[in-house]
């Protein structure tokens, strides 16, 4: 298995790479087009800021490359948000691989933003390696809309997709690398699929 974590020059690629190492796969971390083309599977990690991340991607030509590549791709947190057409964060155009928009979460009493911490999942797709009732770790202020691609969700004032799936694309709004045993099950199932 040749697994590549796409390096956009931001964020903590290290903890995502380590989570895969625990599952027995040592990923390469690279932003080189030829390395990405040769991968079996790709991970677009992400903590960070959407505007900054997309500027980094465009400057490296990775926006077009990631759109063209046929391999399974897992976007994590911001990496998932970038898969969509647009995000309200700094009014940023995304990669446009999934239809829809990413909108800011609205704070309310007892519902601070960022949505930060362990929230309980409602799982629609049993092949994810996750079960309804699992707690996974979220840290985000923006979320995509609920739609046909939603495979697992949590409730945060509105239905927040926790996992989206469409063809070769998977997105996790939560951080599987920081979600204990549940996160490891999810990554293991994605690797095995």
């Amino acid at each position: 298995m040749r697994l590549v974590c796409i390096d956009l020059g931001y964020g903590n690629l290290g903890s995502v790479a380590i989570a895969f190492e625990r599952l027995g796969v040592v990923p390469e971390i690279s932003g080189e087009p030829e390395v990405l083309r040769a991968a079996d599977k790709l991970v677009l990690p992400g903590v960070g800021h959407a505007g900054y991340a997309m500027r980094q991607a465009r400057a490296r030509g990775l926006d077009r490359l990631v759109a063209e590549l046929p391999q399974p791709l897992l976007g994590i947190c911001l990496g998932m948000q970038l898969l969509f057409e647009h995000t309200e964060e700094e009014d940023t155009r995304g990669l446009g691989l999934l239809p829809g928009r990413v909108r800011k979460l609205q704070p309310a009493p007892e519902r601070p933003v960022p949505h930060m911490g362990w929230s309980k999942l409602d799982v629609r797709d049993p092949s994810l390696g996750l079960a309804s009732g699992d707690y996974v770790y979220f840290a985000h202020s923006y979320a995509c809309d609920d739609g046909p691609a939603t495979a697992a969700s949590t409730d945060y004032g509105r239905t927040v997709p926790a996992v989206v799936r469409s063809g070769r694309l998977t997105g996790a709004q939560f951080h599987p690398e920081r979600s204990g045993a549940a996160g490891a099950r999810f990554l293991g199932a994605w690797l095995a699929a």
Binding site: Y10, G11, N12, L13, G14, S15, I18, A19, R22, V47, G48, H49, Y52, L78, P107, E110, R111, P112, V113, P114, H115, M116, G117, W118, S119, K120, Y135, Y137, F138, A139, H140, S141, Y156, H175, E177, R178, S179, G180, A181, G183, A184
Partner: protein, 255 residues
């Protein structure tokens, strides 16, 4: 609200875990790895590491133990201690930390919060606030609390500062009520509630945990998480039993 978080705080000095009372008189309580592994096994929801020697000495924390911790655990952790620039924060995040927490340097230069939020996102940026009540009953912010010889008033009211920090992009506030630190008499509930009401970002209560009911009360006061050191390091409270207690009180916790 997500599940309420139980957050052991590890004060680090020269690569060892230490603990003081009211921010003074620190004693060595063990190695970072053994404490980290213990708390992950105990179902801690998150860990915070404060390099208490870093900020007063004007240096940043060393990346080596951040890399070691990142490799060891599969729950989130924040690091703090003398982070003054965007590049220092980037290095901590690249070493595997999930969040950086800034305190004294953000008081020196509040635009630091914007610099970090702009590049890394608010969810990575924690602002730690050391708050002390004065004789008039007003809460003020203290600076350089890691070093008793340099600790001083920052010249700001706590509520003003937490609002400003959140407006500048802080994604979380850790409220350290200094008079309660290490004394196990309970969190400062009124102050925690006032701060939680003042901002729309998560607020973590810190300082004073001594019994399971103190955690419950902090959550009822609006805290998203409760941070503690002494009661966990001294094995006075086991986190699994604490969570069972909280669940019986109707508070959502991760098992």
């Amino acid at each position: 609200m997500p599940a309420r978080r139980i957050i052991p705080c590890l004060d680090v000095r020269d690569g060892r875990v230490v603990k003081g009372v009211r921010f003074e008189g620190h004693r060595d309580v063990g190695g970072i790895e053994e404490h980290t592994a213990y708390y992950v096994a105990q179902s801690a929801d998150e860990l915070v590491f404060y390099d208490i020697s870093a900020s007063p000495a004007g240096r940043t924390l060393d990346l080596d133990w951040i890399r070691r911790v990142a490799r060891l655990i599969d729950i989130p952790f924040a690091v703090a201690g003398g982070i003054r620039t965007r590049d220092q924060a980037a290095a901590c995040l690249e070493a595997g930390a999930d969040k950086v927490s800034v305190n004294s340097p953000a008081l020196e230069r509040p635009a630091l919060i914007e610099d970090l939020a702009r590049d890394f996102g608010s969810q990575c940026v924690v602002v730690g606030v050391d708050s002390l009540r004065d004789e008039d009953g007003n809460y003020h912010v203290k600076q350089y609390t890691g070093d008793p010889t340099r600790s001083r008033a920052a010249g700001r009211r706590t509520l003003d500062w937490v609002r400003e920090a959140a407006e500048r992009g802080a994604g979380e506030i850790v409220l350290n009520c200094m008079s309660r630190d290490g004394v196990r008499s309970g969190y400062d509930l009124d102050h925690t509630r006032d701060v939680a009401d003042a901002v729309t970002v998560p607020v973590i209560a810190s300082g004073g945990a001594g019994a399971p009911a103190h955690f419950r009360d902090a959550f009822l006061a609006g805290a998203s998480g409760a941070l503690a050191a002494t009661v966990f390091h001294d094995r006075l409270i086991a986190i699994p039993e604490l969570k069972e207690f909280l669940a019986r009180c109707g508070i959502d916790v991760r098992p």
